[in-house]
């Protein structure tokens, strides 16, 4: 039963990814991307990583979609999409070969593993990987400052106000 659930969720995610790739309208691709995030977060939740699943759902399906729609509202749907110089059959063959080789290399490594593991995120995050937390804090701070700087409108300086 668990295998069927994983199969349905991941098949849906791959289908949405394919539709996001070949869809002509960018807004449709954005919605397919949100569906991928939702399905992926359900899979992550089923694997026991509940915190990351919540982050993926709120950020991937929520924030990223909102930002993408905002960017589309600024740019419009008529962005340039020239034809790729790589033929589609060649791209499909290359990607298929790489994907099969990757799965073939990883497959023996997972046969001896089980689906059980510790779920002690707090001790790992705040003790063993505390540097990651600091990096995340710096990233969030710099990202917020950068976005505020990009979105701020230029105001006339003090000297210009004096001359006026």
């Amino acid at each position: 039963m668990e295998s069927i659930e994983y199969f349905l969720l991941l098949t849906g995610a791959i289908f949405c990814a394919y539709r996001a790739t070949v869809s002509r309208r960018i807004l449709s691709s954005t919605l397919y991307l949100a569906c991928i995030s939702a399905l992926t977060s359900v899979v992550i939740f089923m694997m026991g990583a509940t915190q990351v699943a919540v982050m993926e759902l709120s950020v991937g399906a929520g924030l990223v979609t909102v930002l993408m729609v905002y960017a589309l509202s600024v740019v419009g749907e008529d962005a340039l999409d020239p034809i790729s110089v790589i033929p589609k059959p060649l791209a499909l063959g290359l990607v298929g070969a790489v994907t099969i080789l990757l799965a073939w290399m990883v497959y023996p490594a997972i046969q001896s593993a089980g689906l059980t593991g510790s779920v002690d995120l707090a001790s790992v995050l705040w003790q063993q990987r505390v540097l990651d937390v600091w990096i995340q804090i710096v990233l969030i701070f710099s990202g917020v400052m950068g976005v505020l700087g990009l979105l701020s409108e230029r105001t006339p300086g003090h000297s210009e106000e004096v001359h006026q």
């Binding site: 990814a17 999409d81 976005v147």
Partner: protein, 105 residues
């Protein structure tokens, strides 16, 4: 090959990576390229959690996946708010391939 949950998740991760790479190869629109990178990021997050699960250290996998999500979101947020004036220009992702073809001919 039996279709246990582990194998199905592995196939799903490989499939998402494959579709993401395929999209990167066939599209030149900068917005679509960013979307394909998002698909790749989702596959990577799934792979990190999966690796933590099968190695018996799910906390470590979650920690690294959370860092990847935060970094991805910050980069995407800055890009989506700062890059729109340049998105009309299209993508130069395979500009180097074009240049190689031009040099070869």
């Amino acid at each position: 090959m039996n279709f246990s949950p582990l194998n199905i998740i592995l196939i799903g991760i490989a499939g998402l990576l494959g579709v993401g790479f395929y999209g990167l190869l066939i599209t030149r629109n900068l917005i679509k390229v960013v979307m394909m990178l998002q698909i790749l990021i989702k596959a990577v997050v799934l792979a990190l959690v999966f690796a933590g699960k099968i190695s018996g250290n799910l906390g470590l996998g979650q920690s690294i996946a959370a860092t990847v999500i935060v970094a991805d979101t910050i980069v995407f947020g800055a890009g989506s708010t700062g890059a729109p004036p340049f998105w009309h220009l299209g993508c130069t992702a395979n500009f180097h391939v074009e240049r190689l073809i031009w040099l070869a001919t």
